[in-house]
Symmetry: C2
Subunit: 331 residues, 2 copies
Amino acid sequence: MKKFVNDPKRFVPEMLEGLALANPDTLTYVPEFNLVMRADAPREDKVSIVQGSGSGHEPAHVMVVGKGMLDAACPGDVFAAPPMDYVYETAKRVASPKGVLLLVNNYTGDRMAFDMGREMAEADGIRVGVLTIDDDVSVKDSTYTVGRRGVAGNFFVIKAVGAAAEQGADLDELLRIGEKVNSVTRTMGVALTACTPPAKGSPLFELGEGEMEVGVGIHGEPGRERRELQAADAIVDDLLEAIVPDLPYRSGDRVALMVNGLGGTPISELYLLYRRAHQQLAGRGITVGRSYVNEYCTSLDMAGASLTLVRLDDEVEALLAAPAEAAVRVF
Amino acid sequence: MKKFVNDPKRFVPEMLEGLALANPDTLTYVPEFNLVMRADAPREDKVSIVQGSGSGHEPAHVMVVGKGMLDAACPGDVFAAPPMDYVYETAKRVASPKGVLLLVNNYTGDRMAFDMGREMAEADGIRVGVLTIDDDVSVKDSTYTVGRRGVAGNFFVIKAVGAAAEQGADLDELLRIGEKVNSVTRTMGVALTACTPPAKGSPLFELGEGEMEVGVGIHGEPGRERRELQAADAIVDDLLEAIVPDLPYRSGDRVALMVNGLGGTPISELYLLYRRAHQQLAGRGITVGRSYVNEYCTSLDMAGASLTLVRLDDEVEALLAAPAEAAVRVF
């Protein structure tokens, strides 16, 4: 295993400690619950927004806690849903009079933890809303999921409800906005290599030198098919062929286009994919209004990428363009 | 080769096309010279700042062209210095009455290209300053370098002179600031894997499963020693043991600390390294005033990281904190 790691069991807490040390003024860290929260949370004048999920997808979600994004994240261990008490303890700590919105990527384990955590919080009199994200078009059901999986497109749901919450939107309004963004967001990814969980110490699955996994999940779950590695442009064309007709995105639409790296792919290659996707969309009469080329939701050190489209209208575009701050930053 | 690539010869231009398509309002792309420049350059009221170097280090440097950073970058092919006419044509296109500042990482090929490009530009009456960056403490001379190599620390030189140029500093003042930042900046890196240039199609060097290269260069050049892979904390300790005494950084100093990913290492692991570095510096009485954990200067898909320290004073810290915008972004 060629990783920067000490004791694999301490991988997640040591990462979170690093995150807290690097952001002492803006983040509070509660080690017992893997909880990273805004130092100014809860704020009485806004709904608090929480996302859990497993670790191993960084910067999602602990590194997008910040102004205009999440109020807190409480990840489980690598690729493991958080225990229900993480969700409950987090909801208690960020409870605002305006309520708490829990965002859940659609995996069975995460939904269970968040449903139970929600019940516990509601028993304490905390007002809680839950929004499930399921943007992955690749498979209908999956290894760990009934229905579609939630993957990189959840960035857009977080960004939109995060911006609206800063502007004072109430819980019902945030649920409306979040459902709307999720309903116009579609993603599909491809893996060129497997990923290696620190505790396992070896690749999670086998992928031959000339193979790729099309429609891969962010935990390395199988997708649509394993096939021969293709040129970058052909890969983009195949992904768009699955994504575009699914909503469908139509000529005249304006979209946000995300090329998300899965952890082991450099940004140079992501821009190469962006080029083809932008050109192909233009050829279909679809205009890219906002572009996102970076790592957003990774699968540890997996080489690979996903494409996400979001159909924009004035409301969604304004929320995506609103200011935001988070630990993941350049300057 | 498990990469997103079409024709390897078109890797750099296709990446640059993607970059231009994703940033139509802020960047201008001139394909003949791999030139990416600010759409508003040249501005009469500021010195224009240019960095070349080879490709394969993205986001350095084409993706940090923007307000408060570079006015232009004109990279060569992967790991190749730009031809001198790229430098000359770039200098002509961004020539401002206040002059042009060329930033060069200290590699023999780059210095030659920039020296000759400068002479050609000066013959046209353009005022040109050149600043060489050499922050890598690992080796005195190297495969492609006389003197120390310039690596990830050059981000801080760009950021500081970029901010000062926006504030109206003249060329002499920028040379003073750039030399000052370079003089208090030290970096060392470690590779866990080799990188694979698209045109070669196979790893640039061999590194055994249990080995790492300490002090590696950003083109995979040998560093101080090849040794057995260690735990993350031990690696950080060794890097700091080389970096801290070199300036030296002393108890009472305030520093910027960068953990830079080399392309194939996920941000989760970078924060694990950050944790130990921050703690070790605190133990030495050195305060981290600003933190940078991301990919800044990569070596294609190499798994690995580098640590950089910058000794801060009020002037340098204010310049690093000034606003900046570039294509590499999250939101």
